[in-house]
Symmetry: C2
Subunit: 252 residues, 2 copies
DNA sequence: CGCCTAGTTGACCAGGTTCAACAACGGTGG
DNA sequence: CCACCGTTGTTGAACCTGGTCAACTAGGCG
């Protein structure tokens, strides 16, 4: 059970990871009115017009209905993400989100958060960074969806999720510089993947079989294993630079 | 011929359209070091790491090579756009741009612009707005590319371009509240459209023929006519809200 | 006049969708 | 404990959208 004051602690933690906050800034964030919410799988996130939320734990997706009543997933959101940051900038607009696993959310009042931004240049800058990265990821998805064929497309998505999970979940017993994890818990059904990849469920299934046949992944019961990240990335044409996860990737 | 000081005037004009600037802010912008560039069709925009540019006039696209050497267009940029604003936030990253028509560009030093942002909250806020809109447009493209079939997809892109052109180009002899223009100069080849839509040139051609057969558009020699905007938007599933062109669209 | 680019057409093929059926599994209630 | 049911994954076959190849047309410009 998440106590209400942990919501602010979580936001503070996220900011501290990326910024050096002054004491007065920390105080402002800590004083934000907030509450938490517990979600079950497939539960839509119902937000009033003045709410911005942080994912404390779990997976969500942003989606939109297209064409004949098909769900198109536009984004995945993992622990630590703020899916609708853009609400701080574009008040009129609301995307739809739904939980893909049991989730804990921290809900903040957009107007209150905006006031904090107006006082703290550092936090404003971080919000800009989040927005810029969101745009970059979306553009990478454009290339992935329109420019790659289905097997590479699926591989690319899995690479992205793996890298983001590595960054979102504190590594378990891994010494610095060690190879990234190869096993991930990914609560997506093949239908979910299909809705993100723009493929039918049936074809998604066959694409995954193809990846398995090439020993690029194993994926069953929500558990993904990538035996050779390099090889999967090569098939996918994947370069993690667009995720901008670390300040400056030192590539010697 | 564009004189160098007009570059700053253009940037100022764009900012004034969207913000109420103080005199000292105008002075800062006017003092920015800048120069202009003239581009011909298909000329790639070569930028050093510290350059942000504004489109004074003409069309460009942002693109990326995917898969087998196919160009995937990620974005179109019209007069008044700042294609690589994100450079102000994510210094490491550089997308590629190329001119789709003869263009005039205004080039600014990113570091100098960033200094201005640090002094002016208003300008920082506007940059955030641009980033948020960029993300929204990219996400709409995701839905369009993955979720709609080719005819609707092409219709949607044409709707977006038409609406953006209406906003970018000052209306010619149109009284307020009047119906939007129906004729546009669009310097795109069918190959360009295909690269944006994720379709082959041949199929793009057939899709356009289909749109013509349904009397939804005429499109020849770079001139697009949309006889009935409503009907095209209906086919496309197009809702211009995601473009966030006006503060609050009053739809009574 | 001749070349180059953009647009157009037809024929064929491949990738992806759709439909329908079935298997595997977990949860629920009798 | 077991029978039942709903969800997820899997398979096969027919069908259709879009890709590829190749040829040809129509302009624009030197």
């Amino acid at each position: 059970m998440i106590r209400s004051d942990l919501t602010n602690e979580a936001l503070l933690g996220k900011l501290r990871q990326n910024l050096r906050l002054e004491a007065w800034e920390e105080a402002l964030v800590a004083a934000l009115p907030a509450h938490d919410a517990v979600m079950v799988r497939d539960q839509p996130v119902m937000l009033d017009a003045d709410t911005v939320f942080l994912v404390l734990d779990g997976w969500l997706c942003g989606y939109q209905m297209a064409g004949d009543g098909e769900r198109q997933i536009k984004s995945f959101h993992l622990t630590g993400d703020i899916p609708n940051v853009s609400r701080l900038i574009l008040p009129g607009y609301a995307s739809q989100y739904t939980a893909l696993s049991p989730c804990h959310l921290a809900l903040f009042r957009a107007s209150a958060l905006k006031e904090v931004c107006q006082k703290s240049v550092a936090i404003t800058g971080y919000v800009s960074r989040l927005l810029a990265i969101e745009a970059r990821i979306a553009q990478e998805w454009i290339v992935n969806l329109a420019g790659r064929k289905s097997v590479a497309r699926a591989a690319h998505l899995l690479c992205e999720l793996a890298v983001r999970l590595d960054a979102a979940v504190p590594k378990q017993a891994s010494s610095p510089g060690q190879a990234p994890n190869s096993g991930y818990v990914i609560p997506l059904t093949q239908t979910d993947l299909g809705d993100a990849l723009g493929l039918s469920t049936v074809h998604t299934n066959r694409v995954l079989q193809e990846l398995r046949a090439q020993h690029l992944i194993t994926f069953a019961a929500g558990h993904l294993v990538i035996p050779d990240r390099e090889r999967l990335a090569a098939v996918a044409g994947f370069d993690p630079a667009y995720l901008h996860l670390k300040a400056a990737p030192v590539t010697a």
